[in-house]
C-alpha cells in the first residue's frame, strides 16, 4: 500500500496527463474532430474572403467563359481584318501565321508556317495589318523566314507621302527605324506618313510603312527622321505574303 502511494505521488501527474490526452483524443475521434474544426473555423474567419465557395466557382466559370469569348472575338476580328486586307489589295496574297521569332538576338526575323509548297518564294513581300513587315529571305517546303524591316541590315527606299521627299530607311530593332534623306533640307514634320518609294529595288512602291516620330535636320551627313513602324511587329500573329516582281537585283540595298 505504501509503495503504491509512493508510486502515485511520483507518477500521478504524468498518468493524469496521459489519460487526459488519450481521453480527449478519443472524444475527438468519436465526434469526427468537430472541436478542432470549430476552432479552426473561428481562427481562420478573419482571413476568409467574402464570397462562398459556390459563388467563387461561379465567378471562375464566368471568367473562363468571358476570357474564351474575348479570345474568340479578337481572333475573329483579326481574321476579318486580314480578309478585308487581302481583298483591298490588287494582287492575291498568301495568308500565313507567324510561328516563331528570331533564333538569336542580333537579327530581327520571324518564321512563317507557309513555304514553297504554298507558293511562297524568296523575295516575297510580307505585309501585316498596318503596313510593310519585311521580305522573305529563306524558304523551306513548309516554312519561310522573314527579314523584318526593323532589322538594321534591311534597307528600304522610302518617301514622305505628303512632300514626296525621298530617302532610305534602316531598321533599329523593336518598331523604330531611321530614315536618311537624300535632300539637305527635306520638307518633313512629325506625323507625316512614310511609304516605300519607287526607287526601292526590293519593294514595290506605295506600301505604307509608318509615321515620322521625330526629325533631326542638323544630323550629318544627311538629315534623319525617326520613323515609328505602323505594323505592330512584336504583336503580329498573321501576315500576308505577296509575290514580288522586283527580285532581279537581290544583293543591293
Amino acid at each position: 500500500m505504501y509503495t503504491l502511494r509512493r508510486w502515485w505521488d511520483r507518477h500521478g501527474l504524468r498518468m493524469g496527463l496521459v489519460f487526459l490526452a488519450l481521453g480527449s483524443a478519443w472524444v475527438l475521434r468519436q465526434t469526427q474532430g468537430a472541436a478542432v474544426f470549430e476552432i479552426y473555423q473561428r481562427v481562420s474567419r478573419p482571413f476568409e474572403s467574402m464570397p462562398t465557395s459556390a459563388e467563387r466557382i461561379e465567378t471562375a466559370e464566368m471568367q473562363e467563359l468571358q476570357q474564351r469569348l474575348a479570345e474568340l472575338e479578337s481572333q475573329n476580328q483579326q481574321l476579318q481584318e486580314m480578309l478585308g486586307y487581302v481583298q483591298s489589295r490588287p494582287t492575291e496574297g498568301i495568308t500565313a501565321p507567324i510561328i516563331g521569332r528570331s533564333a538569336d538576338h542580333w537579327w530581327q526575323q520571324v518564321t512563317l508556317s507557309r513555304g514553297s509548297r504554298d507558293g511562297i518564294q524568296v523575295g516575297g513581300i510580307v505585309a501585316g495589318p498596318g503596313g510593310l513587315v519585311g521580305r522573305i529571305t529563306h524558304v523551306t517546303p513548309s516554312t519561310s523566314r522573314v527579314l523584318l524591316v526593323s532589322d538594321p541590315t534591311s534597307q528600304v527606299g522610302v518617301t514622305i507621302s505628303r512632300s514626296r521627299h525621298m530617302g532610305y530607311m534602316r531598321g533599329q530593332a523593336a518598331n523604330r527605324a531611321v530614315m536618311e534623306f537624300f535632300d539637305k533640307v527635306p520638307d518633313v514634320q512629325p506625323g507625316d506618313v512614310v511609304s516605300t518609294s519607287s526607287f526601292s529595288q526590293l519593294f514595290p512602291p506605295g506600301f505604307p510603312i509608318g509615321r515620322v516620330e521625330s526629325v533631326n535636320l542638323s544630323k550629318s551627313p544627311a538629315p534623319e527622321a525617326v520613323i515609328e513602324l505602323s505594323a505592330p511587329i512584336n504583336a503580329l500573329e498573321w501576315v500576308v505574303v505577296y509575290p514580288n516582281s522586283r527580285t532581279e537585283i537581290p544583293n543591293s540595298p
Partner: protein
C-alpha cells in the same frame, strides 16, 4: 542511349529558341538556350569537347538565323573557357556558380558577335547593307545585359536535368567519356 538523350536535349533547346514564351522576354530578348547548353556540357569536360560542342551548336544556330557573322566562334570560345574554368577549380559546381558562368559567358558571346559585326562594317563598302559601328555597340549594350540576366536565370532548367543524366550515365558506364 546517352547520345540519344543528349541529341534530344539539343533538339529541345533548338525548338525553344524561336519561341517567346511569356515571362521569358526582356526588351524583346529571350534567353540564349544554346549557350546554356554549351556551358552545361563543357563544365565537366575537356577544352576540346567544349570547343566542338560550341562549334556544332553555333553552326546549327547559323542555319536558323543568318550565317554572317557566325555564331560558331562565340559558342566555341564559350565552350573552351567553361572547360578551362572547371580545370582551375576556382568555381564549385552548384546552381549559383553555373548561373554566374552563364552570365559571364553570355556577355562574352554577345561581345564576340558585336566585334564580328564591327569588322564586317569596316570591311564592307558604303552602299552594302551593314550595321553602323555606333549602332552595333549601342545594341550590344542592350542585348548583352538582358540576354545575360535571362540566360543565367534559366540556366538551371537546362543544367540540372542534363547534369543528372550525364552523371548517371557515367556511373553506369565508366568506360565511356
Amino acid at each position: 542511349m546517352n547520345w540519344v538523350v543528349t541529341a534530344f536535349s539539343v533538339l529541345l533547346c533548338l525548338f525553344i529558341l524561336p519561341t517567346r514564351l511569356p515571362g521569358m522576354e526582356l526588351l524583346g530578348v529571350g534567353p540564349n538556350w544554346l549557350l546554356i547548353w554549351v556551358v552545361a556540357w563543357s563544365i565537366r569536360r575537356t577544352v576540346w569537347q567544349g570547343a566542338i560542342a560550341g562549334l556544332v551548336l553555333g553552326l546549327i544556330q547559323d542555319g536558323m538565323t543568318a550565317p554572317h557573322p557566325t555564331h560558331a566562334i562565340s559558342l566555341a570560345v564559350v565552350g573552351m573557357l567553361t572547360a578551362r574554368i572547371q580545370k582551375q577549380r576556382y568555381i564549385q559546381e552548384d546552381f549559383i556558380s553555373v548561373a554566374l558562368i552563364v552570365f559571364g559567358m553570355a556577355v562574352l558571346a554577345e561581345t564576340i558577335t558585336a566585334v564580328q559585326f564591327s569588322l564586317q562594317g569596316i570591311g564592307a563598302s558604303a552602299y552594302a547593307a551593314h550595321r553602323a559601328l555606333a549602332e552595333v555597340w549601342f545594341y550590344h549594350q542592350r542585348i548583352a545585359l538582358s540576354s545575360a540576366i535571362l540566360s543565367s536565370l534559366w540556366a538551371p532548367v537546362v543544367y540540372y536535368p542534363l547534369n543528372r543524366w550525364w552523371q548517371q550515365a557515367n556511373a553506369v558506364e565508366p568506360s565511356q567519356t
